[in-house]
Subunit: 222 residues, 2 copies
């Protein structure tokens, strides 16, 4: 697939690199490509992924089969606005979390419970086919959950069934075996609010190399 990854931070690099390894045609988009390219950590990563293009947000999603929102939560809406109408009709996989770091640690959520960042994205881009997923784990596990050595779970939320099927296939290609379809995009409030527990669990365990497995009892097994 032709995939555009919005964001060049740790999440963007992890996802773009993995999709490149899987043989997809990958473009990474950022606000200022020259500035991003000049950063040591980006340059070191780019050397290992010469096939991944770097582009400005505007125009980056034209012709993409899938767009991945790997932007920091606080800049999602502003940067998606720069991508603009090219998002219309695209499957938009939203990995972001509405973290508000302004009050110190642990961060709060700037939207929750009666709304979600995923729904805000959908309202700002009503013709995009938004699917929320993968925001419940660190970026290394997003793209390689098998490294845990045990099957774990990932959630998908979205109003477009075909878009969810596309994302589910992509998740499985990265090693996700238990993909739980929560339902419409409203259900993204659940995985986003899970961050409050994820962060505190990471502190308690001393690292983020963990994911949750939804263990079903006898009455819920296939």
């Amino acid at each position: 697939m032709k995939i555009t990854v919005l964001g060049t931070g740790g999440v963007g690099r992890a996802v773009a690199g993995r999709l490149d390894d899987l043989g997809h045609d990958v473009t990474m988009a950022t606000r200022d490509p020259a500035a991003t390219a000049a950063r040591d950590e980006h340059a070191a990563w780019a050397d290992t992924h010469p096939g991944v293009r770097l582009a400005a947000f505007a125009g980056s999603a034209a012709g993409a089969d899938l767009v991945v929102n790997a932007l920091g939560g606080d800049v999602v809406l502003a940067n998606l606005a720069l991508v603009g109408d090219d998002l219309d009709g695209r499957v938009l996989l939203d990995l972001s979390n509405p973290l508000d770091h302004s009050q110190g640690f642990p961060p709060r959520l700037f939207v929750k419970d009666d709304d979600s960042l995923a729904e805000q994205v959908q309202r700002a881009h009503p013709r995009a086919r938004v699917v929320k997923s993968l925001n419940t784990m660190n970026n290394a596990l997003m793209v390689d959950p098998a490294s845990l050595g045990e099957d774990t779970s990932v959630f998908v939320s979205g109003d477009d069934a075909e878009a969810k099927a596309t994302v589910t296939d992509l998740l499985r290609s990265m090693g996700h075996t238990d993909v739980i379809d929560l339902g419409g995009l409203e259900t993204a409030r659940g995985p986003e609010m899970f961050l409050a527990l994820w962060i505190r669990t990471a502190v308690a365990l001393g690292g983020s190399d963990f994911n949750i497995k939804v263990v079903r009892g006898p009455s819920l097994r296939d």
Copy 2:
């Protein structure tokens, strides 16, 4: 131990019954014991647990080694006020969730993110030794997680280390093998906000017979 379970709903019955089976000296407390005793579902349950006393809130916690808050979230503070000063110095295991059903389904949380119900309880009863736990699963799994056939995880939060140790021992006696100490009582915000995901997962799976297992990667294993 001498244990008082506050609340006679499904959670209260499950916990009181299990603690009775484990040999503890159990009292259940409710607003109107005569009215509770007259209810068919309580009477049927009570027949199988003749050793469990039924009492009014006032006085029910006097002399208890442990008090379990199994009240509905919306009545927790009002009913704990009826228990009153007898909570002073007691380990108070809080299982409740701040569910607000006033907006329909799924419920919202009436406190979250910058506060929690557990912290509200602690502020209302500053000399109680509040420990949050078990609120992340249904009542059958709270008291018998082994029924899942696989180890899963449970969280504890609290400011009193000795109280957390008492609760942790109790959890292990009921079959919980992976007890994750999240830290101080502030961390209860995490498990309480998890309810937003728990509810949506229950809808997606068609039932609540599930729990999460925190699967650690190689870097976090003992």
